[in-house]
Symmetry: C2
Subunit: 333 residues, 2 copies
């Protein structure tokens, strides 16, 4: 296992320690076991809170996106494992400015169970809460079963947009929830994996894949994709991903989109730009305009090689919220 770590059992906690030590003006650790990351400045009085959470191993997702104009707090599980009920509750408390709390996270069974239970318990205490689930991975279920889709890299668009909406004076829980839902529904993602990553406590690759193979549509924890076969050229890979995204979303000529070309970890920026080049050319040929493209590592699977492409269909509201100020080390505007 070629990782720079100490004890595998300490991987998550030591990495959260380092995150907070490096950015004490942005993040602080809370919760009984330190498994909540909240804004250093605490909840904002009168603002709707936006919380997320999930397993570790995806930095900067999820905890990296805590900050002004983004999330208020996150509950943090072990690598690829959901956060506990208690930590979900603590994250919601840390985000509670008295105007209600939106739970905005990826559609995974374990996360849902614990976040739902946490929400019910806090509602009994009088907190007003809502849930929006990101379900952007088009490879994980058909358009007819959208609610079964997994949440992947496109989740960060929902963070940015819901976070910006919550900062607007007068936005109530219903407003922020509706905007988050709109962002989620406007987002579609598909990924390709070239290699596995290694979960520290497992100590071996999550799955095996041959030296000349790739998998189209694989999930960020190694969930099975659409097909596995010989590694194709970057243009072929990007072309198929885009074709699938456009068929699914029916985004067409005259529309405006943001594009996120995301590395799963090991795939370098050079290759992301090669993918982006093809995506940009294809969208331009189809009369679809790109606004605010994002190219980099936004939602990873540690050292997995591979990439995902996300499209966010924009209208004027979403575009303005996407461009609104935000402050964390992993988002610049």
């Amino acid at each position: 296992m070629k990782k720079l770590l100490n004890k595998p059992a300490d991987y998550v906690d030591e990495s959260l320690d380092g995150l907070c030590l490096a950015h004490p003006d942005i993040y602080r650790r809370l919760g009984e076991d330190g498994r909540v990351i909240a804004r250093a400045g605490g909840a904002v009085n009168g603002k709707v809170g936006v919380v997320s959470g999930g397993g570790s191993g995806h930095l900067p997702t999820f905890t990296g996106y805590v900050g002004e104009g983004l999330l208020d707090a996150c509950s943090v599980g072990n690598v690829f494992a959901g956060p506990s009920v208690g930590d979900c509750m603590d994250a919601m408390r840390a985000a509670d400015g008295g105007a209600g709390v939106l739970r905005l996270y990826g559609n995974y069974g374990g996360d849902r169970m614990n976040f739902d239970m946490a929400g019910e318990m806090l509602e009994m205490e009088g907190m007003e809460t809502t849930t929006v689930l990101a379900a952007d991975d088009i490879a994980s279920a058909t358009p007819e079963e959208r609610q079964k889709r997994r949440g992947v890299a496109g989740l960060i668009y929902a963070y940015k947009i819901a976070g910006a909406r919550a900062e607007q004076g007068g936005a109530n829980l219903r407003d922020v929830t509706e905007t988050a839902r709109k962002a989620v529904e406007a987002t579609a993602t598909i990924g390709v994996a070239l290699t596995s990553c290694i979960v520290p406590e497992a100590g071996k690759p999550t799955f095996s894949i041959a030296e000349d193979e790739m998998e189209m549509g694989m999930g960020i924890h190694g969930e099975p994709g659409i097909w596995r076969g010989k590694l194709k050229s970057a243009d072929d890979v990007a072309g198929e991903m885009l074709e699938r995204l456009l068929a699914d979303t029916r985004i067409g000529s005259g529309e405006r989109v943001s594009v996120l070309v995301n590395s799963l970890g090991a795939t370098p920026l050079e290759e992301l730009y090669i993918l982006y080049r093809h995506v940009a050319a294809e969208l331009s040929a189809k009369g679809i305009e790109i606004v605010r493209p994002l190219v980099g590592r936004y939602a990873t699977s540690m050292e997995m090689a591979g990439a995902s492409v996300s499209l966010l269909r924009l209208d004027s509201e979403l575009e303005a919220l996407l461009s609104a100020p935000a402050r964390c080390p992993f988002w610049s505007n």
Copy 2:
């Protein structure tokens, strides 16, 4: 070769294409073969130009750091190969606002030969030019032979500081050159490699290293390091790197430093924060204060696994320049 690319020979040009398509407000391609990246807005009249250059495969180094408050232009070689004389000349011309041009790049033989020749030819045309070489890799030569050291990740500190100095009204070529030299002399770096990367046109790993081995002090192109042995714990690795850096720089109690914990590519943020955690604790215990730490991928070797730690010894001038505004997708302040 598990890479997302088209023809290996097109790797660099397609990636530069994508970079400029994604950020047309920051970058534009110039030069006979498109191997110069310059600020989209062109040279700034009356400002000292700061140019860099080198081989590809290190994004966001070098070209990513073209932008306001940073570099004016970069000449771009093939992967791990120096830029041509013509491209170095074109980069200097693109950076020339009439106040002279500083060449600021890493200390590698091929780069020096071509940048020197380019400088001589432009001086014959009447341009005033200077050179500062980054030589921060303490593993590559003894302190007595500092001028033989290679330039690695610490180069970005020099970019930031020289770039900020050049933006100050009234700064002439001598001022900017002196400040760049001061930044270079205040910077020390050491890296560890866990795996090799693959140069696309070679199609196979640059070097081999056993499944349980690491190499302390290896260069960013695979140049031999200080020792190769069994993979150690993150704390042991960070501890040894820091010990070597402090012995070399003699930075001690009461001083202020910036720390850069940089991934060579595949090593994820989680592990960088584990390393940072140890570095921060050790520096704190020694009475050395960290200002503006940087943790992330700043100078990579594509998909190489490994990391480097750099220290920048600060005084008030360097600290102010480090904190001055800059605008590119890879630097946020």
